[in-house]
């Protein structure tokens, strides 16, 4: 039988991961490239802080989108009455892309914090003391980053196995990190800047989706034994 040298169907997780990797590395690459070319703009400091913070938040939302997307795809394909993709389990594979998105979130959040510590306060810990005292959103941001650090450290498969059910409990703290990120963004955005509202609305949609599917629509997507529903 003729066999394809590379099966897109069999390698869909790898292909999706490569695609996501390229997309999510782009903002950081762009930042380094424009800085090296001196085309980053008038205020590189603000651009670096803005881009890293914003993309950290976007990655956080994208990682929360994955499980919602799985449900939405399933419902959408049922409505289309096509053969494949009507079962929740058909989309289990997209969950396997989630860890990388989460690690990108940690990557951008870490760049954001590093830029703050190095470029803003110049590694002067007295300045950090005054900043935290004067502007509570910095403490909120650092708390969020600490949560992300714990999640990133416990992300390998071996941790997942060793920690058992505690792993799931710990990783639920991503919701707290998301709320802290919203608070952080609201607090620092200047008058007339709508981005925090947009980000908060997106987060609200994702949270509402979870609440609806675990209460009102909990029977709509029946567990057929093939999916990783808990």
């Amino acid at each position: 039988m003729y066999s394809m040298p590379f099966s897109l169907q069999k390698n869909k997780v790898i292909v999706a991961k490569c695609f996501i990797f390229l997309c999510l590395s782009y903002p950081a690459a762009q930042l380094f490239y424009t800085y090296s070319q001196n085309t980053i703009g008038t205020n590189p400091h603000k651009t670096i802080m803005g881009v890293t913070g914003e993309w950290g938040f976007i990655c956080l939302l994208l990682s929360l989108l994955v499980s919602s997307l799985r449900r939405w795809l399933c419902l959408f394909l049922r409505a289309l009455k096509v053969k494949f993709g009507r079962r929740l389990a058909d989309w289990n594979w997209i969950i396997r892309c989630r860890r990388m998105i989460g690690l990108f979130c940690f990557f951008y959040a870490s760049l954001h914090l590093a830029a703050y510590l190095w470029l803003d306060i110049g590694l002067d810990w007295e300045e950090l003391y005054y900043d935290v005292k004067d502007r509570p959103f910095i403490l909120v941001g650092i708390s969020g980053w600490l949560i992300l650090t714990l999640l990133a450290l416990t992300s390998p498969n071996i941790c997942m196995r060793k920690m058992g059910r505690y792993w799931r409990t710990l990783h639920r703290f991503v919701y707290l990190a998301a709320v802290l990120a919203c608070l952080h963004f609201y607090w620092l955005a200047k008058l007339g800047d709508n981005r925090p509202v947009i980000f908060t609305l997106l987060l609200a949609i994702l949270l509402l989706d979870r609440i609806l599917f675990s209460t009102i629509f909990s029977n709509t997507l029946k567990d057929d034994g093939m999916e990783a529903k808990r």
Partner: protein, 292 residues
């Protein structure tokens, strides 16, 4: 061919520094000397491109990089300025006449934005005290209120109520009469670009940039402290004085540090933006934490 094709900017700037130093040595007027002495700033000027492409001008947009484009639609001739209120000789004057009446001089000031960035700008202009002396404030005059233009057809940012329009700013009379306080009509030896507040703007170098109101249409001397646009918008964040003060924080921006445009890392902010020796007397005995 224009001038910059013949002489490189860095060279003619260097020459001007030399001329400014020479002028101060000759000793013209004592007030002017004090100003110049304050401004033998041993700091590099921010480039003309950065000064004209990174502006806070909410009348057009809250996006600092968009102002350079959006502001070009503003019609600035003719431009009448009304000076009234508590004065003996009220005045309505076209800005071109104003430029004839007052000889403009060069003032190199650091501009510190409340958002935590700063530039060093070579303004041309004249001292506000010269204009105020001409209209003769009455004994009742304690404050000076400035109004900016309200024209949403051209200032498209005014179609959103981000702030109450027109933009209003104010100074105490002694602050307005201070020799450092100027009305700017140009920068880098060119007429004031529209995005920087053409045709006439205020520059108060020891206060945060938002005090330096752009596109002034009227100046009114008052007995009562005027309520500025920013005080109305968020009284807990913006006070009347808005002096550059690293020890009093804004809820969003630490005022202890600033990023000088052209640099990557932040630097420490100086009290009164480096003009402590010249202006600290104005606020003797005042609680600067309460009067922020």
């Amino acid at each position: 061919m224009n001038g910059s094709d013949i002489t490189k900017e860095s060279i003619y700037l260097h020459r001007r520094k030399f001329i400014a130093a020479a002028v101060s040595l000759l000793g013209t007027s004592s007030a002017f000397n004090k100003v110049l002495a304050a401004n033998t700033l041993d700091e590099q000027l921010t480039s003309l491109h950065d000064i004209t492409h990174y502006n806070n001008y909410y009348e057009f947009s809250t996006n600092k990089e968009a102002i350079a484009i959006l502001a070009q639609d503003l019609a600035i001739t003719p431009w009448e300025i009304t000076i009234g209120g508590e004065v003996e000789k009220p005045l309505v004057i076209d800005v071109s006449q104003l430029l004839n009446d007052f000889q403009s001089k060069r003032f190199v000031y650091p501009l510190r934005c409340v958002e935590g960035w700063s530039m060093v700008i070579p303004w041309q202009g004249f001292q506000l005290q010269q204009l105020l002396e001409k209209v003769k404030p009455t004994a009742n005059a304690k404050y000076v209120k400035f109004n900016s233009l309200f024209r949403p057809s051209e200032m498209i940012g005014q179609r959103r109520n981000v702030l109450e329009w027109p933009y209003v700013e104010g100074l105490r009379l002694d602050e307005a009469m201070h020799p450092l306080t100027i009305l700017a009509t140009g920068l880098y030896d060119k007429p004031l670009p529209k995005q920087n507040g053409a045709p006439l703007r205020l520059v108060v170098p020891w206060k945060y940039g938002f005090k330096s109101i752009k596109a002034i249409t009227s100046i009114e001397l008052t007995a009562e402290m005027p309520t500025t646009s920013w005080m109305k918008s968020s009284p807990s964040e913006y006070g009347f004085y808005a002096n550059v003060n690293p020890t009093v924080a804004h809820p969003r921006w630490s005022q202890r540090r600033e990023v000088r445009i052209g640099e990557l890392k932040k630097r420490k902010t100086k009290m009164f933006n480096g003009f402590e020796n010249q202006v600290a007397d104005l606020y003797k005995g005042m609680d600067l934490e309460a009067n922020f």
